[in-house]
Amino acid sequence: MTDTDTNDIETDGGHAEAAGELEAGHDDGHLPAYGSLKRWLVTTNHKDIGILYLATATFYFVFGGVLALLFRLALVAPAESSATALLSGMAYNQAVSAHGLIMIFWFISPFAFGFANYIVPLQIGAKDLAFPRLNALSYWLYATSGLLFLVSFFQGTTYAGGWTMYAPLNVPVYTPEVGTTAAVLALLMFVVSVTVSSVNFLTTMHRMRADGLTLRNLPVFTWSILLTVWMMLFAFAALLAGLMILSADRLLGTTYFISTGGSVLWTHLFWFFGHPEVYIVFFPALGIMAETFQTFTGRRLVGRKWFIASMVLVALQSFLVWMHHMFLTSINLQIKTLFMATTIGISLPFDLMMFSLIYTMIKGRIRFTTPFLFSLGALVLFIVGGITGVFLGAVVLDYEFRGTYWVVAHFHYVMLGGGTALFAGLYYWFPKITGKMYDEFLGKAHFVVYFVGFNLLYFPQFVVWETPRRVFNYPPEFAIWHQLSTVGAFVLGLSFLIMFYNFATSYFDGADADGNPWTYATTAEWAVPSPPPLENFPGLPSYASGKLDFLEPTAAADGGSTVAETDGGVAHAEEEHVDHASIWPFAIGVTAVITALGLAGFRQGVPNDPTINPLYSAIAVVGGIALLVSLFAMGRETFVGPDGGFGEAWPFAGIENTKTGVWIFLASDVVLFGAFIGSYIFMRVAAPGGWVEWHGIVEDVIPGLMNTYILLTSSFTVVLALVAARKESRIGLVASLTATLLLGLGFLGNKAIEWNHLFHEGYGLSTGIEASTFFLTTGLHAAHVIAGLVITVYLIWRAWGGAYLGDDRPVEYFGLYWHFVDIVWLFLFPLFYIL
């Protein structure tokens, strides 16, 4: 045993012995020091990335908050016209839309994922996330996508059509500015970041739990993140499809959202993402509420397993309620009624969770610390938000309330009300992250001012709920309530000055924090020093004995994994060396954003009078080349990450980390392609004449059949490549991969001939919805083929040098991807060529 004992505490997973006397020094190895800018550019360590997320999300929070203060000032008095308003009409629209987009996407979830990054590996007993470089890549894509959004303010106008980006206002006919396209691409980049992050967290949480830490015993905060990430994986894939189609409408001239049914299609794609997003935002806050309620009442969560079961139920149900956001669209009454029922149904597990938290308070002894006050405030505010939301779930009432300030007030009580617990998390884990205690009086003062400001800001909006949403004018008799609301906005905003002052002074002059400054904190992050060392634990964490032990690994002579008998049980030691630094995630983030910036303006006037902008085109080309170089360099870089499977790995035991990650990624790709194919089916059903009267643009089935043969053959050659690798036949491996490459090129060549033929027949992406769906859906598939061929070239190059003969996993994992691309074609072929 290498742990020391300052506190014997029951943990969620068993029994933790807090290591307060452990040396809190940092063995940062090859990482630059904390004070160096370079450290923050190259770090892949989960705690550093967590801090980066928290800091960056705070920046976007302030930016989005200032925008809110601007339009609240404009709303002090009703404006009869834009000429008399503080903000012009377009400026108001931009401020409101950007506020929503920034707060939802660039602040609240990333802020929660700052905690997830920092805390989850500690709570589950992992050294780091499964793929540290991908974690850094997620962060840099997030950070730079936000910068692109800010740049969009200076490119004409940023997105001004509301945060829901409803069609057809989102197409160039109505919003032609480059800045609007840049904002869409920024959001698309953000979604890519989320997808990468989802794959990483799911692999980590399922594969890298300490021995004995079963899902049943997982801390509630980690449970909340686990379910959040599962929702993210599927929900954001639908948004990705929507944003890709929107980008194609804006840049390539496809006609999805201006065709019959296009507006409703967008709402389906958006809200299939959008309603789970409510819980994606709220669940981390709920997890923090559960943790802090336990810690500051000294009582285990009442009905803990039912609380977790309720969260699981909500996560599943969240994908079955999205159309309650669409009661005012043209969807039919039967489906509205069905979704009203599912919406009312989702409130039931929430009731259970709220009562669980309340009974935990009743059964325990409350200590009114700052984190607890913020959590309690979040509970109260969320209950108000939840109850007022029930009205919106009823079809008839929604007819009245939709598009009014009732929605605005309800929405903020839910999102920021629940999100109030995130500030609880900030105070709760501040000592862990910084090693310093904050000032409790200032913390409580912050809570009081925040809570008063919050209610002063949002409650009057219930009173004057008939105020039209997203409009800068309102009836003069509502003015006093809007003035109160504006005062509340400033009180709320200024309350954060107390927090910033508190944290700044505490960081430099505060008292040192122990490993566990909270008497009844029960999760594993409190069993290590504050802040924790680089690789978190003084040994291999294990709950096998029923309490948290740190087992001492012994190094094998060959550097491989070893097994050490200790007094706590048997430890499977990881290899000694784990990397923590790479510049390439940062480089990819920067080059990706340059590429996106160029793409935003390379073609204007779509679809009627498209012109190529040479400056933007040059930026896109330079950025694109640099992006490819960066991706290649990251692929070439030798980087050792932590292993998985050393403890609990259900349900992916026996499937190593990378393979698990590939499958999880493919699951998200299923939803992406599913949403594309679903969009095609929707537009075909919605078209005049319906499904059967649809006139596809492809007359000849033979090119499609030839490509089916080619792809099937290429799948077979990939199988042969794997067989050759296992037989350690270098020639066989290279030959099979080369055949795959040639077949893939043949597929693309055949497609090029077919498309060229269609272009000559007068079909283009803008010809109509039949052409748009064909070119875009098969184009997305072709893009997947191209990505596969790039990987194939890399594999051939490595195989020629003798790689993969002893370790065929890269060939196998590439095969998983390639076969998936094949499967997708098996459905595209009949849908677009035969039926």
């Binding site: 969807i331 039919n332 098996l826 009949p830």
Partner: protein
Amino acid sequence: MVSTKLYAAIYVVLFVGATAQVVVEFAGYVENAYWLAFGLIMVLSVFKAVVVAGWYQHLRFEPRSLSYLMLTALAAALALTLAAAYSIT
């Protein structure tokens, strides 16, 4: 792990399946019995997809959790597609 011969046999089955889909069209079913043809062709596509996933992606030999993962994703995509298409007035 299955043999190369079985992989080759599967390839032949897939090849025949793709050809059968076109035969259904050339036989005039798409013109004369559209929904029957639709059913036949989609069943063939599902069959081929299951074969590729089961053998070429080895799902048949992997822990069931991977199959459930993919089925969950498929269920999400189908829920979106079917409910959205049904919602059209």
